[in-house]
């Protein structure tokens, strides 16, 4: 599993701004975790690794490792699609503190 990772946020002068619409592919400088008010929590006892949450996550933050769903909380926005789709109810939404 390869995902873009958060890298250093450099300071840019006007001359450094590229003229094209693009920058280096997969260059992330900020996370999305602050968007959440609720977070999905996986119960590894009941998770059967059916991959439905992985397939339907709009942000791609869920991966299946050793047959269980693992969530990247840096980029999860807490939409709750995974919890709603989970047939064995292994993902519960919990309030962020």
């Amino acid at each position: 599993m390869i995902r873009p990772t958060v890298r250093e946020k450099k300071t840019f002068g006007f001359a450094d701004v590229p003229e094209d619409t693009s920058y280096e592919a997969g260059y992330l400088v900020t996370v999305n975790s602050g968007w959440r008010s609720i977070r999905p929590v996986v119960n590894t006892e009941t998770c059967i690794g059916c991959m439905q949450c992985y397939l339907y996550c709009p942000d791609g933050v869920i991966s299946i490792q050793d047959g269980k769903a693992v969530i990247d909380y840096d980029f999860c926005k807490g939409c709750g699609i995974c919890s709603k789709l989970c047939k064995p109810h292994a993902i519960q939404m919990e309030s962020e503190r």
Partner: protein, 295 residues
Amino acid sequence: MSVSAKTLDQNEYFYGHKACAGCGGSLAVRNALKVLGKNAVAVLPAGCMSAVGFNFPQLCFANNAIISTFAGTASMLTGIEAGFRRRGIKDFTAVGFAGDGGTADIGIQALSGAIDRNDNIIYICYDNEAYMNTGIQKSGLTPFGAKTTTTPAGQNIHGNIRPKKNMFEIVAAHDIPYAATATVGYINDFLNKIEKASKIQGTKYIHVIAPCPTGWGIPVSDTIDAAREIVDCGLWYLAEYENHEFKISRDPKNFTSVEEYLRKQARFKHLTDEDIKIITESRDKKWEFIRSHWN
């Protein structure tokens, strides 16, 4: 070979983007890129996916991606395909992701031209049924009765007065090598249509319904449910066009209630029973045509 969660590329190519929670469009882009792999060259016109993917210096595409002019998605795809071919690069897929406005209104002539030239590209229209990026204005693909900021619902006019443009059949009328409709609610069907398109020479068009919780007025966790229900109630159909023939991929025996589907969404909250009757009748008429003319 069919694509499934197990055989899908495990790498993420659209990651860390700033789309709203529960965005259907980003789900479509993410999964399409997972099928096409790292050598896909994505073209995005003005629209949600370019707004959320490119926030300098953050670039959420892990493959090559570029923003095109609003009207020029298909023309830029043509240029990219020709440029790569000229440089002798063979292992790539030129793929465009345009919204419903960028496809059915603003980009339709460029798309039509690309199909006419039969350029070897994949054009994906993620249809959230309005110009969501700029604050929910009516597009050519906004359905009848939907409330948007340019088609407000009042006493006299109940939202959009025009039906949804029949984009899939407009594209098919060009006699395109491959066209298909899909929904993010039935993702395996969508993945397999992308896979099939990637193997076909010539222009390919895929129209995918991608609910927008913000614009449709549904809870962020209900995106997938809405994307399934729109097919189950018959207001959207899953079909393919290939070898000069239409083929239906999913023919629901019994439709679920149109009213139930509409009432869940804030954009249809104002509809009267009379309006819902009009929508139900147009659905029945459409399906009568589909079942008598398509395979």
